[in-house]
Assembly symmetry: C2
Homo-oligomer: 636 residues x 2
């Protein structure tokens, strides 16, 4: 539980802030409404968690909403979810690290002017860890989650006991007053307030972002996977709901204020603005400050543990990304090479893109968690809506097949739960898009649209190629060429050349010749003399090269062979050096690579790369090379 | 003559300027000394030209000083010359385009503030022409040279006739006075003056820069090449010497002034400084202005023709560069792929480097021809010194073999000529380095040193690899593997796979199997079923991949084969797609490339790339592809 739930639980570190912030925008609803909104969000969490408990049991392969949507609503819907999920990964990273930076600067106010750099450094470090590819041990990831749970519950319990004893502590910001932008029309004010309450509710729903993480991590659970994942969901849902309600209640009774820009919207009790140095702490930080006023060390512990759990949440995004990419690649929505998860190199590119996108977002929003969370909500709830709709159809399908009335009843209930989840998610999505479209939600929508289009195009491309390559008239592709004509490209008489000759001879072609291009006439003559002296068992053809070219005369030679016997297979053996240092690539193989590229364009020609490992390579890879215990050919 | 001499003749457009400029630095020697220095430089030109007439006759293969030094003084000396020549190519381009910019801004004073950009645009355009690879027609290049010769001689003759008739025109700058930096000590002044006269002489020697161009262009001459090149040298040497002497004489009688910075060092007759807008014209421009005072169109013609011939000279550098690079590459001093001159791609990189270096120099010196020429002189005369020294040794060697007294006398005379050339060149080199080391000559020396070291390292690397690869114990490299084990990598049953199977079957290996990696278990099962249904004549091995990897299971399979039969040759057939659009590379072949790279590291394994040309490729290359008239395999 602690590993996959970190994403969900860590949202407690910023969801209350968003609720208070949204409420700070209106005069009509007191800040004391916060706990009610907290309860509402908590209820939503429970509904959605109940939904996903069904999801993961029905689709325990880790495909999450993507699989649900693809299987029940078609590949277009799956693609929408895929786009939303990709956006989510970027935003999990960006939001976690932005909030992380807020906590770090709360603990160390000296860093306050460097929130953006702190967030960026966080993203870079997390990505580098991801790029190294060594997954952190689950235990290591579990500790911060448990610490965070402990710290938050301790804060809550101490706070609630104080309140119960009638000794209600007052937050530093309790005396401050929130200044509001003047709203002239009372009617608009009313409408605006409704919208604001809805926004407070929807913003708080960011606590749900982590549900998806659990849903896609099902295969990593112990068996029975679906059930265990479902239980994890329910447990962490409960915990998150309790913490959210408790924290918003405490914030409201201790008078915590949280606004968009404290220097604009907060004034002291005497009406003077807050000092220029005032830095607003996150709600959890303010609560810890207030409740543990006598033991400041506790404030530090709470804040640092929150920062820690946010790192774990961000790490989940980086580590989870290859899984989604791999699935999308296998379904042909992303480049095929991403399908093999073990391939570090290709995933590096993916993680790099992820990190760059997150950094761009952090810079563009100047590390404003509030803005980023609006984008985040779009992605998260878009996939909820589609996924839950898919589940409703899933139950409809299943209902058609089942006649046992008890099972039917259970399925009807499930359908109701999923339907409710779908409607609630749709509600949140609409509120976010309506209230925040121009303020940033459009970015998430646009990013999803672009991903949708690009992935669709990739899918169509693969489909087109697959149909192009389908073996239709079987005769044509099973015919075997009548003869083979082997050519060994020779530049010099050395071990790689002799090896290429030996290999060419062992494959027993109908015809075999060695070919050299006389780029330097003198050298070519010398080569021919030595060739005869050594009595090599293969005839050598010397091609003239009036313009000191190497590739063109060889191509012309191959064309000539093809013209003479168009049905033959031409096999060109090219010796290639395996080098040990990067700069040796500049000095070796360049001509071989060029030759190979050009020859592959000629029909009925295959190119055989005969490797020779230079000593510099063997030295670099001594003992740890692939297969290094095996004797080299020639040393046997 | 006109094509290769453009470099040498065009130097007349800036050599007189450098003489006047150097002389402007002292009060002791009148500017009337200029013609004498012109005559001295002219005499040097004739000596050096006489030297190189011998060079090109003795070494008509176009190696120039590089060949002379390598053959007579050893490869280290050859390397010094090579480094010097490479620096020269950069500076020919930089100097020509800097002076070009000076002439262009003389013709169009509006462009005066943009001399640096004009020079850079010039370099870029010339390089782009060079990159296009279509060499300009000789006739096209000859016209500017003839025009320039005509324009300069016309100016000289008209000027000289005027002087002879006693009607000496006065230059605009004749009334101006040169202000000197105060020198307190009379003794230093004397010494400084000697140095300045020497510098005037050495700066004027830049007129010799073009000699090398002719020497390396010998193979392009008609037969007898050496003789024709020698005659060209002598003819253009005479022309350059005459023009230089004539122009410096005219400059001195018409009172032309040329200083480093007119706003610092020039005052009007009444002692007031020159106006802020005053732009100093090159000497040739000032002369044309003065002599054709009545027909301003002639001034334009002279200036534009000079600009034109400088373009031709710069073009010579860009076009000549591949020749030198090719020779250095064949001798193992530069990456081997440069040896084939016809390879446009690799030479593009060379020309790009050439252009970038020239642009950097132009920017660093703010398009100061005077500074660049000092660098230029270092390279030019360094190669002269080494080359002539090599020629002296050449004659010594020859003298040991010849007994005919007449021939011996001729050789002795030749040796004397080359010796004189060597001493004169060394003198100029010493003057330049002594007087200008800190002012910029160190850059040329440092660049030469770096090139010397890098090319030496490349040479040593190739030598080391060659000795490593020399077929010593012939048995080991001629042994033929006992058996072949062919593997066809299968991802899907499609045309490329079937073709790879067909090709693998035709090479008749001892063992043949198709191998697929079950990255996706479902897909692998489906593949196996279809394989059996189609009754393909090759057994299919399915490799498990618990971590959804593709490369590692295949490598493990190959290792297992190698362990079972270490003396077998393993041939891996990998289908590869030939795509038509750049972005298709992202979607195809990435796994194949990775697999190929890893397999090539395994001993006794060769990789066969079996190409399949996608329709997108065929569409792109319809009709103009290589070999496109030939039927594709399977369409026969």
């Amino acid at each position: 539980m602690p590993v996959f739930a970190s994403d969900m639980l860590s949202s407690v570190a910023y969801a209350p802030d968003e609720i208070l912030l949204a409420l700070s925008l209106t005069t009509l609803v007191s800040i004391t409404a916060a706990p009610w909104i907290g309860i509402a969000v908590g209820a939503v969490i429970l509904v959605i968690v109940a939904c996903y408990r069904l999801n993961v049991r029905a689709y325990p392969s880790g495909g999450g909403d993507y699989e649900v949507a693809s299987k029940n609503l078609g590949s277009k819907a799956g693609l929408i979810v895929a786009a939303a999920l990709l956006v989510d990964y970027v935003l999990t990273l960006a939001v976690s690290m932005t909030v992380f930076a807020a906590y770090i600067t709360t603990a160390f106010p000296l860093l306050a002017p460097y929130r953006v750099p702190v967030a960026i450094v966080g993203i870079v470090v997390i990505s580098l860890l991801g790029l190294r590819g060594s997954r952190a041990r689950p235990v290591l990831l579990a500790i911060p989650t448990y610490l965070f749970l402990g710290a938050v519950f301790l804060t809550m319990i101490v706070g609630l006991v104080m309140v119960a004893l009638g000794d209600v502590p007052q937050a530093e910001t309790a005396d401050y007053t929130i200044v509001h932008d003047a709203v002239t029309n009372q009617a608009t004010l009313g409408l605006a307030t409704v919208l604001i309450v809805l926004r407070a509710f929807s913003s708080g729903s960011v606590a749900l972002a982590g549900v998806q993480t659990v849903a896609t991590a099902v295969p990593a659970f112990e068996k029975p996977r679906g059930k265990n994942a479902g239980n994890t969901l329910v447990l962490s849902g409960f915990l998150a709901a309790i913490m959210l309600t408790g924290l918003t209640y405490l914030a409201s009774v201790t008078g915590v204020k949280y606004v968009d820009d404290p220097h604009l919207y907060l004034v002291r009790a005497d009406g003077s603005p807050v000092s220029a140095e005032y830095e607003q702490e996150p709600v959890l930080g303010q609560l810890a400050h207030t409740i543990f006023a006598d033991t400041p060390i506790m404030f530090f512990i709470v804040v640092l543990v929150a920062a820690l759990v946010l790192i774990v949440a961000a790490n989940t995004a980086v580590e989870g990304f290859p899984g989604l990419a791999s699935r999308l690649a296998r379904d042909g929505f992303l480049p095929r090479q991403l399908a093999s998860k073990g391939d570090r190199l290709t995933f590096s590119n993916g993680i790099l893109l992820l990190a760059v996108a997150a950094i761009v977002l952090v810079i563009a929003t100047r590390a404003s968690a509030t803005t980023l969370i609006q984008l985040y909500l779009v992605g998260v709830f878009a996939s909820f809506v589609v996924g839950q709709l898919g589940m409703v159809l899933h139950w409809n399908k299943r209902l058609r097949l089942v006649i046992d009335p008890k099972a039917r009843l259970r399925m009807r209930v499930n359908r109701l739960i999923n339907g409710a989840g779908c409607i609630i998610a749709a509600g949140v999505l609409i509120v976010v898009i309506v209230s925040k479209f121009l303020a940033g939600a459009w970015i998430a929508v646009a990013a999803m649209a672009v991903l949708f289009i690009v992935m669709g195009a990739i899918h169509r491309h693969y489909a087109r190629v697959a149909s192009e390559l389908a073996p239709d008239a079987e005769i044509d592709s099973r015919t075997i060429p009548s003869n083979t004509h082997a050519i060994v490209v020779v530049n010099d008489i050395n071990k790689p050349t002799l090896r290429a000759l030996a290999y060419a001879r062992v494959t027993r072609s109908s015809q075999l010749e060695a070919v050299t291009v006389a780029v330097d006439e003198e050298a070519a003559e010398k080569l021919q003399r030595r060739w005869n002296e050594m009595e090599l068992p293969v005839p050598l053809t010397v091609l003239a090269s009036p313009y000191r070219e190497l590739v063109r005369p060889l191509l012309a030679h191959v064309f000539a062979i093809r013209r003479r016997s168009p049905r033959d297979l031409v096999i060109v053996y090219i010796p290639q050096y395996i080098v040990g240092r990067w700069w040796e690539h500049i000095l070796h193989n360049q001509v071989a690579i060029k030759l190979r590229t050009r020859l592959l364009l000629v029909p009925n020609v295959v190119v055989v790369s005969v490797p020779w490992r230079l000593r510099s390579f063997s030295r670099q890879h001594r003992g740890n090379g692939p297969d290094s215990e095996l004797p080299l050919y020639g040393q046997v």
